[in-house]
Symmetry: C2
Subunit: 405 residues, 2 copies
């Protein structure tokens, strides 16, 4: 069993890095806060005697050696980056529970057959740089490193520049090595486990996602001299589109999701009819066909804005297929849950995770714990110490069982 | 008659300061570009032998002495600041035509009875600091200097700090002195004069304006795990509001205007259901009663967002009454138009102007020239050299006639 207090105090220590006034965290990918958090993680790993490698995408690999270095290792991990005004557990819980697992094996002087690799994936959130799961996508061969390097934030800084700026661009290109099994422990980010008083979610699948960048172009005009009927207002066109996107989500309820999280208005001055709105749109659904229908409806909604004299460019920047996790991996976690006397249920993730990409090239699955009221991507994100402990124990047993094979 | 070529080249020279790639200008109030433009104006004035005073709001007063320093002077002027991605004539045309007027009087060694004062009013646009016409409002006693000093831009820099940063906070508080007559020359910023092939607009009135800041508060949530029906999405609520605001404008057509020019989304991340939208709303109408009705409709629209679990705070930050200009001032411009052989028509301004505030404390009126297709608050703003010349000649004759009284 893990040392639950040590895990909790490690989480608390990390929460200071990028901490916000409302008790959350802003630790954007490759920001200075990310650098400080990475350095702390590396220091902790090295103090416990583990090596720490960094690849060309800034992914960090912390390795606890097993008896047979030639056998493919077992992998676990998650991400250190956060949303702007995000929570203290999304991602970082999985990383620090992985560290706790390694420390626990040290405490008990457990020798494993295989190496265990703890990983911190760069830019999972997709907040500073779209799309999400960028660096695990490259590592798993689903995206090219060149594509990833060229992604820019809103200040036009590229991923490559940002990696160099914080000293985390490794020499070796990000490329997968053979993996025996991969586990990611994460908070559910939804309300089901807490509502049903279940300890552990055994994640058997994840929804697909399609992300878009839209550019709506109207014509800037004086708010005082331009009559309503002669405007080509990019912002009212955006408003019409936003309600249609929401409607697309409702049409595909209860599983479907349709969200506009980001919008930037030009010139964004009170007395100027806006010339341009740049915005995101994202759809999610467990079925590919539904995503195709949602995308078609988006194109129709965008085209209908021409009635307002506003053109809409729709660019798909992310197409993330629905995936199913590995049955053998899930079986180890099921056995762990049974051995530990916890309750569990199978579930589908509405969130994307690095391990969804890893599942394309290696046996993989995920373990969820509840979070209070399902609140996530919010400073108010919360978990209880008991939940944290149970998840880490299931991770420990799942990983250990695979590492002894 | 003015030297039209000199006026045009002065305009061209000034267009470099804050010039944009699309041929417009971004010269936000109290920015570095504003400072450079102000210094250039002051240098030009001093080279022509005029004094230049600055008051506590950064208003610049350039004075050509007349024979009777004890008589109230004649005032003319406009503003050097621009919108973000604004045009090359809005405001600056009135200032530089005023400079040309003074230079022309020098060329012809005309002695006037009264002093003539050319003024550059600070922060007319209301783009960087809301509300618009801030410093003329203080000067005319309609707003307090303390209120104005405390206005902030989106980076929370106050007007007072910004004035000090560019070295344009004068010692003397901004306070009106007696004025015999005040004229402002400006581009129409609408299409009427060009459409009707009329040289000059004799502005007899200006619409009232009410500006608001709205804060919509929902709840940040994960875009993947949060079902549509359990969201409290501040952005889709904003979209609903924006369409209702537009509808209010149409209900008061053809004279009414309703505009949302600015919106800021929190946390503004693609995969987060937005928690907050902060936005502007502004209404305009020639009749006060209509503005009252529009404001009431806004409150109703804002309250209806509670059905979405989104609260809306509505704050009125600007209440600018409809005004009528002075008949005697208009009569001088009418005589000027007749003497010069130009065509003219009376009109109502949809835009607010510094001289609307001045009209509260002194006889005042305005002179409009056409601008191409009525385009303004847009980099594509354009006037023709002939139009520029005619406007400046009408200004010259109007001011001169008042200055000899
Ligand atoms: N787990 C998580 O919040 N990932 C971010 C990518 C997503 O929005 O699905
Ligand atoms: N003339 C002008 O554009 N003034 C800015 C204030 C307004 O929007 O009316």
């Amino acid at each position: 069993r893990v040392n639950a207090d040590r895990l909790w105090s490690t989480l608390e220590r990390m929460a200071h890095i990028g901490g916000t006034s409302k008790g959350g965290v802003t630790r954007l990918a490759l920001s200075d806060e990310d650098r400080i958090a990475r350095n702390l993680l590396r220091d902790w790993a090295q103090q416990a005697g583990f090596s720490c490698d960094v690849d060309g995408m800034g992914n960090m690999f912390i390795r606890r050696a097993g008896k047979n270095p030639t056998l493919p290792p077992v992998m676990t991990g998650s991400h250190v980056d956060s949303q702007p005004l995000g929570g203290n557990y999304d991602g970082i819980y999985g990383v620090l529970a992985g560290l706790e697992l390694l420390r626990t094996l040290n405490d008990h002087q457990v020798e494993t057959e295989r190496d265990i690799v703890l990983v911190n994936w760069t830019n999972e959130e997709g907040a500073r740089f779209a799309p999400a799961m960028l660096a695990s996508g490259v590592w798993a061969g689903q995206l090219s490193q060149e594509f990833a390097y060229a992604r820019t934030d809103s200040a036009k800084i590229t991923v490559r520049e940002a990696l160099e700026a914080i000293g985390y661009r490794g020499e070796r290109p990000a490329r997968a090595f053979p993996i025996h099994a991969c586990y990611e422990l994460h908070i559910e980010q939804g309300p089901i486990l807490e509502d049903e008083a279940v300890d552990i979610g055994l994640v058997r699948a994840a929804m697909g996602q399609r992300w878009f960048t839209l550019t709506l172009d109207g014509f800037a005009a004086h708010a005082g001299t331009t009559p309503m009927h002669s405007r080509r207002d990019a912002l009212t066109a955006f408003a019409e589109l936003a309600l249609k996107v929401e409607e697309i989500g409702y049409q595909h309820a209860p599983d479907g999701r349709a969200t506009i999280g980001m919008a930037e208005i030009t010139p964004n001055s009170r007395n100027v009819v806006p010339s341009r709105v740049l915005c995101s749109v994202e759809f999610r659904h467990p079925q590919r066909e539904a995503l195709v229908a949602m995308e078609a409806a988006l194109h129709q909604a965008a085209e209908s804005l021409s009635a307002r004299g506003v053109s809409a460019k729709v660019e798909r920047i992310f197409d993330y297929a629905p995936i199913a996790f590995d049955a053998a991996c899930l079986a180890r976690s099921e056995q762990a849950v049974a051995a530990l006397g916890y309750s569990a249920k199978p579930m589908v993730s509405g969130a994307g995770h690095d391990t969804c990409y890893i599942s394309k090239i290696a046996p993989a699955s995920m373990i969820f714990i509840p979070c209070v009221k399902g609140i996530s991507h919010n400073e108010a994100e919360k978990i209880l110490p008991e939940w944290s402990e149970k998840g880490a124990n299931v991770l420990l047993h799942s990983v250990l069982s695979a590492a002894q094979e």
